[in-house]
C-alpha cells in the first residue's frame, strides 16, 4: 500500500540481473555479475539505503546470471539459472573461514544452454556419448552425457579365472564392516583380507581352500556359511573354527546352494535339501527330489534379515521351468514354464520397495521377470527382456536404502525400482562375471566386480538413466567437433576480457581454460583488414580453440584467434586423405550490421597432439557453416553457399549459390545439400558434378517466415527442422501431380515443443541389443539439445506402430490431465506467433513420448478402458484389437531407447 521513495546510491559498478524479496522483512537480495548482495531497507529512515550487504568471495560453482532468486527460509535461498547449474545457498551474517557469506548447500545440474554437441562412440561399444557445450560465461563447461550407470574404479587387481566373489566380516576385532573377500576358482577358493587399502591373500582356518565355493556369507549367530562343491560348512566368525559340517548323504557333489535367514538350501543333482542353522550345528529339515536336474536356486531373504525366509525358487534343466517352493517343507507352490530351450542360469527372488519379483535369467542373455505373491508364491505379469548375449548371473545388492539387482553378463545391467516400475540401467563396463557388495573401512558402499582377468573394486554412480559428467571451462564453449583419427575433440570457446580498474589493460577473469594452456598459439589479422582497434576500456570477447583428449577430456593444446575474430562453425573433415579441423570465423565490427569479413582456417593435429595451422582462406562475410561435402569443403558465407575443391593444398572455389537471406545451416547427404535459411526454412540443392553447379531443386514456402534454429536430414527426402518453439518435418515432393508442385516441399509433421533447439545430431544413447524383438524404430535416432538444457530424442516409427500409438495418444490425452488442465491438442499445436491473426495448425505426425509413456503408470482398469477401440494389423493383415500386454511391451521397449 505504501509507496517507498528510495534514494539511490550506487552499490557497485555492475548490472543487476535478478532481484528477489527476502521473506516479510523489508530486504531484497540482488544478484549482479555472479555476486549475491542483500539490501536491507530501513523503513523509518528517510533514505532507504543499502545497509548491509553480503557478498561472496568463495566463488565455487557460482552462477553468472541467475534467472530467479527465491528466498525460502532461514537464510536459505534458491538461485535458479538458465545459464548453468542452479543452486541452493545458505546466507549467513558472518563470514566463514574463507571470507564468504554464502554456503552452497546443493547444486542442481542443468545443461542449459546447449550450444552445440558432439555425439560420439568414444569407447566403441556401440553406445554413443553426448558431449555438450553447455553454460555461459564462468559457468561454461563441457558435459558428458551418457546413459547408464558409471562405476568409479577405486582399486583393481589382476586375477584371472575368478568364478565368484563374496565379502565377509570376520576376525577377532569383530569389525563392523567387511574385511575379507572370498574368491572362487575352479576347484579352489582364495581368501583376500582387506586392511585399509591393502589387499593381501590369507588363509582362514575354517574356509576350505581346496574346494570351489558356491556360496559364502555371514549368517545368523555370528557364523560364516560356506557352501563348497563337497559340503556345507559353518564357521565361527571370531575364532574361524569349523563348527559344523554337512555333506550330502549320497556322497554326490553339491552343484549350488543358497541361504536366507536360518535356512540353507543345497542342490545336489535333482535333489534339494533344506538345512537349518541352529546355534552351532546344521540340521537337515527336509529333502525333496525333483524330476529334473536343478540349475539354479535362490532363497528369499526377508528385509532386515531378522525372520526366517519362507520361500525358495529353483530353475530346472530339461523342461526349462522355474518353481517356487515353500520352506522348510519344500512343497511346490508354483511351477512356471519359461518356454524355449535355453536353460535358466540364475534365479533370484528380489524385493523392490513393496513388491516381490522373481527374476529368471537364461543362458542366452534373456531375463524373465514375474511379480510374485510373497505368501502363496503365485507368479503373475510375466515379462521378458533381452539384457545381453551371454549367460546372466543375477546378484542382489544394497545401495543406500534400496535393494537393486545386478545382472552380470557381457552387457551388465542394474535393475532398480523407480516410480513403481522396474528400470534397467546399463552399466558402463564391458563385461562383468560376478559381483558382491563390499563395505569395508576404506571402500565404503562399494562393489567388488570380477571379469575374466581382473577384480575391480569401485563405487556406483547415482542410479539414474542419464549420467552427466561436467568438465568446467570457466568460459563459454560455443562449438565442438570430434575427430576419431586423432582421438581429440576441438572446442571453440569464448572468454570475455574486461578492463581493469583504471582501464589501462584488459584482464581475463578467473583462471579459465584458455588461460591455462601453456603453449597457446596466437592468430593475427589479415594484413588488409582494418577493423576497430582493441581498446582497454571496453569488454572484449576472445575466442580460442581448445584441443581436448577424447578420453581424459583434458586440454592438450590451444589456438587463440585474433581479437574480434569469432568462431562461427567448426567441423572435422578429410581432404585428400588428410584429417583436418576446418574452422569458420567472422570478424565482428560492432558498428557493422553484418560481418563482411571472415575466414576458413584449416588445422591439422600433429602426432604430438599439437594444432598446426595449415591453411587460411579469406571470405567476405561470416562463415556460418563449414561442412565436408564428398571430398570437398562446403561453406556458407552470409547469404551464399560456396563449394571449394581442395587442390594442391589450396582451396579453389568451384561453384556457389546465393539465393538465401542468411544460409545459417548446411547438411549434406550424397549429392544433396540442405540449406537452412535464417527465415525461409529449407532449400534443397543438388550438386551436379558434370556441370559443376549447385542447383536448387526444392524449396519450402508454406511455413514462412520460419526462423530456423536447427535442422537435420532424416534421410534423402525427409528433413527435420526446429524454429525455436516447434519441430517439424518437411518432405521433398517427389510425387506431385503437377510439375510446378515438385519444387515445393510438403510438411507432413509438426509439433510444439516449447523449447529452442540449437542442435540436432544423429546418434543413440543406448546400445542396440542384437537378437531383441524386431524394433519399431527405423533409421538412426536423432538427439537434440536445446537452449533450456533439454536433451531429447526423435525417432522414426514404422507405420503400424505409429497408427496404434497415435490412437493411444488421442485417448490418453482425454484421460491424463495436464498441469493447468491444458488440452494436449491445444498445447502441441503449431502456432504462427509472429502472424497478425494467431493461426494454428494441429500437431500431426508426431507422437508425444512423454504422454504415451504415462500409460505404464496407469492402473490396469484404466489401461483397458483407454485401449478400447484401438486396432492393429496382425501378422495376416487383419485388424484386431490391441491388448494391454502388447501396448505395455511396445511402450516399455520404446522407453528403453532413452
Amino acid at each position: 500500500g505504501t509507496v517507498l521513495h528510495a534514494a539511490c546510491r550506487p552499490i557497485l559498478e555492475c548490472v543487476i540481473s535478478c532481484v528477489g524479496a527476502v521473506d516479510d522483512r523489508p530486504a531484497i537480495s540482488l544478484r549482479c555479475h555472479g555476486r549475491l548482495l542483500m539490501l536491507l531497507l530501513r523503513l523509518n529512515s528517510p533514505l532507504t539505503r543499502a545497509d548491509q550487504h553480503y557478498h561472496e568471495t568463495g566463488s565455487s560453482g557460482e552462477t553468472v546470471s541467475p534467472s530467479c532468486i527465491a528466498y525460502l527460509d532461514n537464510g536459505v535461498t534458491f538461485v535458479g539459472s538458465c545459464l548453468g547449474d542452479s543452486q541452493l545457498c545458505k546466507l549467513s551474517s558472518a563470514a566463514d573461514e574463507s571470507g564468504g557469506y554464502v554456503e552452497i548447500l546443493e547444486t542442481f545440474t542443468c545443461l542449459a544452454p546447449i550450444l552445440d554437441m558432439s555425439v560420439v562412440d568414444v569407447d566403441q561399444q556401440g553406445r554413443d556419448v553426448v558431449v555438450t557445450c553447455s553454460g555461459f560465461g564462468r559457468n561454461g563447461s563441457l558435459r558428458l552425457v551418457r546413459s547408464g550407470v558409471g562405476i568409479n574404479e577405486q582399486a583393481s587387481i589382476d586375477l584371472a579365472g575368478v568364478k565368484g566373489v563374496w565379502s565377509l566380516r570376520c576376525g577377532t576385532e569383530m569389525a563392523e564392516s567387511d574385511n575379507t573377500l572370498v574368491l572362487a576358482f575352479v576347484g579352489q577358493t582364495t581368501v583376500l583380507s582387506l586392511k585399509g587399502e591393502e589387499v593381501e591373500e590369507t588363509e582362514l582356518e575354517g574356509i576350505a581352500a581346496d574346494q570351489q565355493t558356491h556360496y559364502c556369507s555371514n549368517v545368523i549367530g555370528n557364523k560364516i556359511l560356506q557352501i563348497t562343491g563337497q559340503s556345507v560348512r559353518l564357521i565361527n566368525e571370531e575364532t574361524l573354527q569349523l563348527v559344523s559340517k554337512w555333506a550330502p548323504p549320497s556322497g554326490k557333489g553339491i552343484s549350488t546352494g543358497s541361504c536366507g535367514g536360518s535356512h540353507v538350501v543345497v542342490v545336489v543333482g535333482n535333489e534339494l535339501f533344506c538345512l537349518d542353522i541352529q546355534d552351532s550345528s546344521l540340521h537337515q529339515l527336509s529333502h525333496v527330489t525333483l524330476e529334473h536336474e536343478i540349475a539354479c536356486v535362490d532363497v528369499r531373504v526377508l528385509k532386515g534379515d531378522s525372520g526366517t525366509s519362507n520361500i525358495c525358487a529353483v530353475g530346472l534343466w530339461t523342461n526349462i521351468s522355474a518353481r517356487v517352493l515353500r520352506l522348510p517343507s519344500l512343497d511346490i507352490l508354483h511351477t512356471q514354464p519359461l518356454g524355449g530351450d535355453i536353460l535358466p542360469r540364475s534365479i533370484l527372488v528380489a524385493e523392490f520397495d513393496t513388491r516381490t519379483y522373481l527374476l529368471v535369467a537364461l543362458g542366452d542373455g534373456t531375463l524373465h521377470y514375474f511379480q510374485m505373491d510373497p505368501d502363496s508364491g503365485a507368479l503373475t505379469n510375466g515379462k521378458k527382456v533381452v539384457l545381453g548375449t551371454k549367460p546372466i548371473v543375477l546378484r542382489q545388492f544394497v545401495s543406500g536404502d534400496a535393494h537393486h539387482v545386478f545382472a552380470c553378463s557381457n552387457h551388465p545391467t542394474i535393475i532398480h525400482w523407480n516410480n513403481h516400475k522396474l528400470l534397467f540401467s546399463n552399466v558402463n563396463l564391458k563385461e562383468v562375471n560376478y559381483i558382491c557388495t563390499l563395505n569395508s573401512d576404506s571402500f565404503r558402499d562399494c562393489l567388488a566386480l570380477v571379469d575374466d582377468n581382473t577384480l575391480t573394486i569401485g563405487s556406483l554412480d547415482q542410479l539414474q538413466m542419464l549420467h552427466i559428467h561436467p568438465v568446467p571451462l570457466a568460459e563459454s564453449p560455443r562449438r565442438i567437433s570430434h575427430q576419431r583419427h586423432s582421438h581429440t575433440f576441438l572446442v571453440a570457446s569464448c572468454r570475455v576480457d574486461v578492463p581493469n580498474g583504471d582501464k589501462t589493460a584488459l584482464i581475463s577473469p578467473k583462471p579459465c581454460a584458455s588461460k591455462s594452456v601453456s603453449n597457446m598459439l596466437e592468430g593475427t589479422h589479415p594484413d588488409d583488414l582494418s577493423i576497430l582497434p582493441v581498446t582497454t576500456t571496453e569488454e572484449l570477447e576472445v575466442f580460442s580453440l581448445l584441443l581436448f583428449d577424447e578420453n581424459s577430456l583434458e586440454v592438450i593444446h590451444g589456438y587463440q584467434l585474433s581479437p574480434r575474430e569469432h568462431v562461427t562453425s567448426l567441423t572435422s573433415c578429410v581432404l585428400d586423405s588428410t584429417h583436418y579441423y576446418a574452422v569458420g570465423t567472422a570478424f565482428v565490427d560492432p558498428t557493422e550490421k553484418e560481418p563482411n569479413r571472415g575466414r576458413v582456417l584449416l588445422f591439422r593435429v600433429s602426432h604430438t597432439k599439437v594444432l598446426e595451422l595449415v591453411y587460411m582462406n579469406d571470405e567476405a562475410g561470416a562463415v556460418y557453416q563449414v561442412v565436408q561435402f564428398q571430398d570437398k569443403l562446403l561453406i556458407s558465407v552470409n547469404s551464399e553457399v560456396r563449394l571449394y575443391k581442395w587442390e594442391e593444398g589450396k582451396m579453389v572455389l568451384e561453384c556457389s549459390y546465393s539465393d538465401t537471406i542468411l544460409a545459417l545451416y548446411l547438411k549434406c547427404k550424397g549429392d544433396f545439400i540442405l540449406v537452412g535459411d535464417l527465415m525461409r526454412s529449407f532449400k534443397l540443392l543438388v550438386y551436379k558434378a558434370e556441370k559443376s553447379v549447385l542447383e536448387e531443386i526444392s524449396v519450402e514456402t508454406s511455413l514462412n517466415p520460419v526462423f530456423m534454429t536447427a535442422m537435420e536430414m532424416i534421410d534423402d527426402e525427409n528433413y527435420l527442422g526446429a524454429d525455436g518453439r516447434h519441430i517439424f518435418v518437411c518432405q521433398k515432393n517427389s510425387e506431385a501431380a503437377v510439375e510446378a508442385d515438385l519444387m515445393y516441399m510438403l510438411q507432413p509433421s509438426r509439433m510444439y515443443i516449447g523449447d529452442n533447439i540449437n542442435v540436432f545430431r544423429h546418434g543413440s544413447l543406448v546400445m542396440e541389443h542384437p537378437g531383441a524383438s524386431p524394433s519399431p524404430i527405423q533409421g538412426k535416432p536423432i538427439i537434440y539439445g536445446s537452449v533450456h538444457g533439454a536433451v531429447g530424442l526423435v525417432v522414426q516409427l514404422d507405420m503400424s506402430t505409429f497408427s496404434v500409438l497415435a490412437k493411444l495418444q488421442e485417448s490418453m490425452a482425454a484421460v491424463i490431465k495436464s498441469v493447468g488442465n491444458i488440452e494436449h491438442e491445444v498445447y502441441r499445436c503449431f502456432s504462427m506467433e509472429h502472424t497478425a491473426a494467431t493461426k494454428t495448425k494441429s500437431a500431426e505426425g508426431f507422437i508425444d513420448g512423454d504422454l504415451v509413456e504415462h500409460f505404464l503408470d496407469l492402473p490396469q482398469e484404466k489401461m483397458e478402458q483407454i485401449i478400447k477401440g484401438i486396432k492393429k494389423n496382425d501378422a495376416h493383415g487383419m485388424e484386431v484389437d490391441v491388448t494391454v500386454e502388447d501396448l505395455v511391451k511396445l511402450i516399455e521397449d520404446l522407453s528403453r531407447i532413452h
Binding site: V15, S17, S65, C82, L83, A112, P113, L115, F136, R478, D528, L529, S530, I531, H566, T568, A586, V588, D589, P590, T591, E592, K593, P595, N596, R597, D618, E619, A620, G621, A622, V637, N638, S639, E640, S658, T660, I661, L662, L664, L678, M679, T701, N704, P705, F707, T709, G724, R725, A740, N756, V787, H788, M832, E833, H834, T835, A836, A837, K839
Partner: protein, 405 residues
C-alpha cells in the same frame, strides 16, 4: 546479426527478439521490388487493395468505368519463365448483369478468415458480397447516400460489416442474416473512416467530417464509448459536443496489429497516435503530413506484428508512401515510384511486403532488398577506406540488446 544469433543460441533475451528485430529492420528497408512485378490490369486508378489472411492473394478494385476487380496471386509467378509477373485472375465488374455497374469500385475487402468471400462498395451506393469461386454477388445492401468506406469485422463471434457514408451514421450489416442489424448514430457529418479494434472485436472506431473520432462498443446501444479529444481535456472548452480529434475531417483510421494504439489522419494534415485503451492522445509529433486525399477515405497501414519491435505506420501522401516510426514520429523512409497519387495500400500479414496502388493504374510491390552477395573485393575496399555502414537500425538493436542483459 551475429550478436543476435549468439544471444538466441545462448538463450539470452526472449526468443522472439531476433525475429521481431530482424523483421523490423527489414520493414524499414522496403524498396521497390526488383523481382516481383504485378501485371497491369486496371485502366484507371487502383482505389483499393487488400491481401487475404495468408498474404497470398491480393485483391484490387479499380476506378475504371465500369468498375473492375482483380485477384492477383502474389506467391507464385505466372507467365513467362524468369519473369516475375504475378498471376491475375480477372473478374470484371461489367460482366455482371446489373443495371448499375457504371461506377468505380471504392473499397474492396476480403473476408478476414478465408478467400471464399469478398465485399465491395462502389459509387452505385451498394455494399456487395461476392462469392470468390463463382465471382457472383450473393448479397447486396442498398444505401441512399454515397458510401465512403466499409470494414468487415475480424472477430469470430459476429460477422458484421460497418459501413460509413454520407448518412452521418454507421450502418452495421450482418452477413449471416443479410440485414442491417443496427445503426450507430452520433456523428453530425458523413463518416469517412472506420476501423475495428484488433484487440476487442466489439470495438469500432469511426472518423467523420465533423472532425471527431468516436469509439463504439457495438453491444452498447445507447451511444458511443468515448469521443477522442486531441487536447486530452486540457482546453477550456470542455463541452463534450465539440470535442474533436482533428482540426479537419478525419479520413484515415487504423488500429495497430496488437490493438494497443489507434492512428488517425485528418485533413488538418496531422497524424495522431491514440492509446486505444484510455483514448488519450499520446501527443507523438509526426510533423505536417499532407493529406492529399481529402475527399475520400485515406488508407493507413501498419507494419505486421512480426515487425513490431519498431512499429511503422505507412501513409499515402501524393505519389509517395511515407513511413513513420510509430512511437517516435520520425520519418523512416518515403517510397516513391508511382506516377500519380497513391490511393491504396496493403501490407502482408506476416512478411515484410507492402503493395500500393495509384492513379497511374499500377500496383507496386515494395520488398526489402535482396541480400548483397558477399564480395571480398568490396569488403576490402570498404575496410581500406574505413567506411562504416550508416544504419540507425542496427545501432538501435544493439542498444536494446544491451539493455536486456
Amino acid at each position: 546479426m551475429l550478436q543476435l544469433l549468439t544471444a538466441r543460441e545462448c538463450g539470452l533475451g526472449p526468443p522472439w527478439f531476433l525475429p521481431r528485430s530482424y523483421g523490423s529492420q527489414r520493414f524499414s528497408e522496403l524498396e521497390l521490388s526488383k523481382e516481383k512485378e504485378l501485371g497491369r490490369f486496371h485502366s484507371a486508378a487502383v482505389n483499393s487493395l487488400d491481401l487475404d489472411c495468408d498474404g497470398r492473394y491480393l485483391i484490387s478494385g479499380g476506378g475504371d468505368v465500369p468498375g473492375s476487380i482483380a485477384i492477383h496471386d502474389t506467391a507464385r509467378p505466372a507467365g513467362e519463365k524468369g519473369l516475375y509477373v504475378c498471376g491475375v485472375t480477372v473478374s470484371t465488374y461489367g460482366t455482371q448483369n446489373h443495371t448499375d455497374t457504371s461506377h468505380a469500385v471504392s473499397v474492396v475487402q476480403w473476408f478476414p478468415h478465408d478467400t471464399g468471400i469478398f465485399t465491395t462498395t462502389s459509387g452505385d451506393r451498394y455494399l456487395k458480397i461476392w462469392d470468390t469461386n463463382d465471382l457472383l454477388v450473393v448479397e447486396k445492401f442498398k444505401f441512399k447516400n454515397p458510401i465512403y468506406t466499409h470494414v468487415m469485422s475480424t472477430g469470430t463471434s459476429h460477422t458484421l460489416t460497418a459501413v460509413g457514408g454520407g448518412e452521418c451514421k454507421i450502418t452495421l450489416c450482418d452477413l449471416v442474416s443479410g440485414a442491417s442489424s443496427h445503426v450507430l448514430e452520433g456523428h453530425s457529418k458523413p463518416v469517412m473512416a472506420l476501423a475495428w479494434s484488433t484487440a476487442c472485436e466489439h470495438v469500432l472506431a469511426s472518423g467523420s467530417q465533423d472532425n471527431s473520432v468516436v469509439l463504439w462498443d457495438i453491444r452498447k446501444a445507447n451511444g458511443p464509448l468515448t469521443k477522442l479529444d486531441q487536447h486530452n481535456g486540457s482546453r477550456a472548452s470542455s463541452d463534450p459536443s465539440v470535442t474533436v480529434a482533428h482540426g479537419g475531417s478525419v479520413n484515415g483510421l487504423c488500429f495497430s496489429p496488437d490493438g494497443l494504439h489507434l492512428v488517425s489522419f485528418g485533413t488538418d494534415d496531422r497524424l495522431r497516435l491514440w492509446d486505444a485503451v484510455t483514448g488519450k492522445n499520446t501527443l507523438v509529433n509526426y510533423g505536417r503530413v499532407f493529406n492529399t486525399l481529402p475527399k475520400q477515405n485515406c488508407p493507413l497501414a501498419f507494419s505486421p506484428l512480426s515487425s513490431t519491435l519498431h512499429p511503422i505506420i505507412c501513409i499515402p501522401v501524393g505519389g509517395e508512401v511515407l513511413m513513420f516510426h510509430l512511437t517516435t514520429g520520425k520519418k523512416v523512409k518515403s517510397l516513391s515510384g508511382h506516377f500519380g497519387k497513391v490511393h491504396s495500400l496493403a501490407v502482408h500479414p506476416v512478411e515484410q511486403e507492402l503493395y500500393s496502388g495509384g492513379t497511374d493504374a499500377n500496383i507496386l510491390c515494395w520488398m526489402p532488398p535482396p541480400p548483397r552477395k558477399p564480395s571480398l573485393d568490396r569488403a576490402r575496399r570498404s575496410n581500406a577506406t574505413g567506411a562504416v555502414y550508416e544504419d540507425a537500425w542496427s545501432s538501435d538493436e544493439d542498444n536494446d540488446d544491451d539493455g536486456r542483459h
